[in-house]
Structures are given as C-alpha cells and as structure tokens.
Amino acid sequence: MTALLQVENLATHYFTGDGVAKAVDGVSFSLNKGEILGLVGESGSGKTCTGFSILRLIDAPGRIVSGRVMFDGQDLASLDTAALRAIRGKRIAMIFQDPMMTLNPVLRIDTQMVEAVRAHSKVSCKAALDRCRQVLAMVGIPAPEERLASYPHHFSGGMRQRVAIAIALLHEPDLIIADEPTTALDVTIQAQILAEVQKLCADTGTAMIWISHDLAVVSALADRIAVMYAGRIVEQGRAAEVIEAPLHPYTRGLMDSVPSRNTRGTPLRQIPGMAPSTLDLPKGCSFRPRCPRGDGACLSQPPEVEHYPGASARCFHPHMREATAEMPA
C-alpha cells in the first residue's frame, strides 16, 4: 500500500533577530490511509510546527527551508497557492487546540458551516445545511437543528470542540491534523471526544495526525507514535512497542516521569535539566546534556536507524530489547 502522506526531511526554521530557531529540523515519517499517528513531545519540541508545516501554515519569520511533503502524489511544500487552497479544508482538515480560535465569535454556527461547505463544493444552501446537520449529529451534538442557530459562546468548551471536529469532517477529508484538541477539556469530556474520534476514524477511514503532549491519550488512540525532541523525531514505531519497549532514553525518561507509573510516596524519576532552546541547540544529539547514556559519540548527530522492523530511533545507545539493563557508566 502506498502511503497517503510521506514527509521527507522536512525542516522549518524561524529567522528571528536572535538567530535561526530550528523549530523543525529534518523530520521524516509516513502515514497510511486510515492510520492514526500520535505525534508526542513537550512544549517547544516542534510538534505543532510540524503539523502546521504540512499545510504550509507557517508565517514569517518562519519558512520551510527544505524537505518534501508528498500527499497523494503532490508535493505540498512546492504546490502553488491555488492548488493548495483546494486541498486545505477539503482533503486535509485541521482541528486546533482552542476551538474559540477556529470559530468566528460573531457569526452563527450555520453561517460558518455553510460557508465551509460551499467553499469547496457547489451545492445549494439547503443541501449544505443538510450536510451540516448530518455531521453535527455524527459528532454527538444533541438537537443539531437548534444548535445550528446558536453562536459559539452559547456552547460549552467540549461542545465547541465537537463543532470544530464537525467542520473538519464536512468534506470527508483523507487526513485530519489534530493539534492538542482535548488538552483544554476535562477528563470526562476528553473521554467523550476520544470515543467519537475513534469511532469516526474507524467508520470513515480517515487518517489522522494527533498532536499531543499527553502520552496516555496517544497510547490509547494511536496506531503509531512518533516522539519529538528539539525539532527532531527521536523515535517512532508502533504504539504498543514504543510504550512497552522504548528505544530512545528520552522516551523512556518521559514515560518514567509520569506519576501513575511511579510508586506512591517515592520521589518521581525525573529527567534532569530542561529542554534546550531551538535557537541554541547543543552540538550533536540535542538530548545529550540530559541523557544518562550520553558520551563522546553523542557529540555528532545520531542518524535515524531502524533497529527493528518499523521501529527507528535517533540514538547511538538505544535501549535494545534483548538487553534492557543499564549500560555501565
């Protein structure tokens, strides 16, 4: 099966007064039809920037400096604006963290949704409204007829996010890029949205890139996981494998610092130090200064190596599956 989306060596840099911030630096991954990829990382790791770069939503001073984004045979990184506009919102949709930013606060939901339908297909207003009702029901909004006539501020946070998801689904896209869509929501509401998303992806065969800092959410939802650190994907593989046997010391450290994986009352295992600024990355492996396994070899940039079928990592000293014991210092 050919991949739906193939990102090759993508690099997005921000040219600021203080220097060049390498927000995304050589990211490669591919995504099949109907697959959910979890893109995990801490703030500033470049995960959102990667998602935005796919749709070329990068504003100055940022620029995609190299790489290709192959979507269904076209390179989105070099496509002209008109052709790109035909893809945005129709074949690739985006869901943002804050639905209040997606929705126009002074327009009614029906106005906004009908506009989105008619932007890509020449249908009558009535047909467009029917489609809106249909997708609102799909995402679990009760009484869609009445809700269509409401303004965004009439909705609760969870409902707003459902509307944003409904808008993304309007054109039955091949790919949805979801940027932290449940981060601002409560646990019970988050579970509701995750349940809807799981069902929709299974029913419609939509592929998804789920960007999140929350390993727990991603582990329950994704088929594959890619872990980002300082602008690079440090590890990717099948979700269960990344969770059970992480190769990269950073992935391991990240999972070990989650409270529920530690014994109560004992100090949490922590990663020392903090993430480097993308303006001033350490030489070689960016994780080296915080890494328990870092040594002289790490002063040069580790390449992405496929250690097991479908499981790759950028590390000279990965946690191999046979011998998981700590290396001698």
């Binding site: 646990v187 329950a220 939802l221 989650v258 529920s260 922590q270």
Partner: protein
C-alpha cells in the same frame, strides 16, 4: 489532636446584583431574579498536620474557590474555617496576621502571579522583611537560602520573571510562599501548566520541602495521577459539593461514588494497545441552575427516583471514608 485546618459548613455564593433596569422591571411585576452561583456548598473537611490532602474535580466544580477561601483570599458566605482551632474570621490584629502568613498559596500560572516588574530578590524577599521575619541586613542571605531550597541558583536573584522558564517560575512562586515560613500550603493546579519531565521535578521538590519544613498541603488538581502520587487523603468535588472522601489507597482501590468511579475509569493511562473509551454521558450542568437532589443524577448510570429529589448526605461508609450517594443506603 486539633486539625490544622478545619472547614465546617463552608459555603460560597456569588450573587449578581440586579441592575437598575431589572429592578424597575421587577417593580412592574416582571419575574426577574438575582442570579446566584453556588460555587461551594456546605463543605466539611479537616486537614491534619503533616498530611497532604488532594482535592480533585473538573473545571467549575469549586475546588479553586475552596482553596482560595482556605488561603484567606476570599471569605466564605457561610460556615467557618478554623486554623489550629481558631476561627480565622474572628481573629484580629496580630493573630489575624499570623494566621494569614501561616497559610500560603501557590498558583497555577506563575506568570500571572509574579509581578513582572520586580526582580526575584524583591518577589521573594519583600514579605519576610515587611513582616519582620528577617532583618534588612540579612535579607540577601535569606533570599539566597530560599532560592537554593527550591533548586534555583542564587546568582539569578537580580533577574526578572520573564527571564526564567516555566518550571523555574513555578519554583520562584514556591520560594515566595516559603519565605514567610508557612505551615500550610494551598497548591492550586501548581503543576498543571508544566511539561511532564518538569512536572516530575516540581512534584519531587514539593515532597522534599514537605519533609524539610514540616508542611501540610492542600493539593488541588484535575490530574488524578498527580494527586494519587502525592496525597495521603483525597476529596472529590462535583458542582460545589464533596461527593467522596477517603485515604488515597482506598479511593483508588475501590471508588464508592459513581462519579469517582467514572473519573477513575476515564483517566487516560499509558498502556500498550488501543483502548475503547466508554463515557459518562452529558456535561457538567451549569452551577447557575444545578439539578435538584443529587447534582450528579442526570449523568449517573445508577440514578433512581430518590436521587432526583433528595440531596444525599456525605456519610461515613467505612472508617475514614465518606461518600454522598443514596446507593449506600439501598445496599444496607
């Protein structure tokens, strides 16, 4: 032993007064009511010295309002908060100041709780000097000590808050609270805004400081994993009321209240393999017009007729464990 903090019948109501037009409309016979939000309703909680009480709930359940009342930033509309056995509202002069100093608060967002125009040395050092905890001449050394305790380099004390990272700013907030030598800290979502690896560092700091300074915490969070890790005892709030309370192991071992059960079931945990999310239906009702009876009944899978009319009392179901659910009477 008297508990360090004793809340009895604590209630907070926010009332929106009628404006002039609405008052006139009411004179003329229109049905206009003052709108009241019951943010916190009749909460009874005791916190023993040296304990970590975790307060869990979703947004809008009143957990922050309760925390702010305990820290003395708000006064309860009804009920009393006693600090070491004395009602805080009745204290005057020196005693009131003492009680206020001994209970400190650490906020969620350090950027909005630290003055951006003050240097760290002022943020941390001002209060202890004003309150006579350290003389002017020893202030620099005292600030350096405080910064060292929370894991910051004292050489950074001339910097402003914006020159620090999120985790470091949270440490400044902690140093500021510690500087007045409190006994009780209210931590309101203090690690919620931090990345996992930084969150672990700050949680470890909280646990280390607790031993070093003999502190008692009220730890407010929506993150069950964090609360489970740090607390001895947990209270769960829903729409202004405490619905369940008990030792951490007992609650995580077997929740009694249907809401707690749902919260625990839906907590995302890191586990290999996809999971099906089963969901409690509906959303949190508006606190402006909470449902009658048990607040949780519209979403509860076990609700029966009595839940719609009668508010369940928070009753002891086992030693040290309380739950507010009619199902417990039914079973008995």
């Amino acid at each position: 032993m008297t508990p360090i903090i004793d809340m009895s019948g604590v209630t907070k109501r926010f009332v929106r007064e009628l404006d002039a037009a609405e008052k006139i409309a009411r004179r003329l016979g229109a049905k206009v009511e003052e709108r009241t939000v019951h943010a916190v309703e009749d909460v009874n909680l005791k916190v023993a010295r040296g304990e970590v009480l975790g307060l869990v709930g979703e947004s809008g359940c009143g957990k922050s309002t309760l925390g702010r009342m305990v820290a003395g930033l708000m006064t309860p509309s009804a009920g009393a908060i006693r600090f070491r056995g004395k009602d805080v509202a009745g204290l005057k002069g020196k005693d009131a100041r003492e009680a206020a100093l001994k209970v400190q608060m650490i906020f969620q967002d350090p950027m909005s709780s630290l003055n951006p125009r003050l240097r760290v040395e002022t943020i941390v050092g001002e209060a202890p000097q004003v309150h006579g905890i350290v003389p002017r001449s020893e202030r620099d050394a005292y600030v350096a000590d405080m910064l060292t305790y929370v894991g910051l380099d004292p050489a950074m004390r001339r910097r402003y808050p914006h020159q620090f990272s999120g985790g470091q700013r949270q440490r400044i907030g902690i140093a500021r609270a510690l500087a007045v030598r409190p006994d009780f800290l209210v931590c309101d979502e203090s690690v919620a805004a931090l990345d996992v690896s930084i969150q672990a560092q700050v949680l470890n700091l909280f646990m280390r400081l607790r031993e070093a300074f003999d502190l008692t915490y009220m730890f407010i969070s929506h993150d069950l994993g964090v609360v489970e890790h740090i607390s001895n005892r947990i209270a769960i709030m829903y729409l202004g009321r405490i619905v369940e309370e008990g030792p951490t192991e007992a609650i995580f071992g077997g929740a009694n209240h249907p809401y707690t059960q749902a919260l625990l079931a839906e907590r995302p945990v890191i586990a290999p393999g996809k999971r099906k999310f089963s969901t409690i239906k509906g959303e949190i009702p508006s606190p402006l017009s909470p449902p009658p009876g048990c607040h949780f009944h519209p979403r509860c899978p076990h609700a029966f007729a009595r839940c719609k009319v009668e508010r369940p009392a928070l009753k002891e179901i086992a030693p040290g464990r309380k739950s507010a659910c009619h199902l417990n009477d039914k079973a008995a």
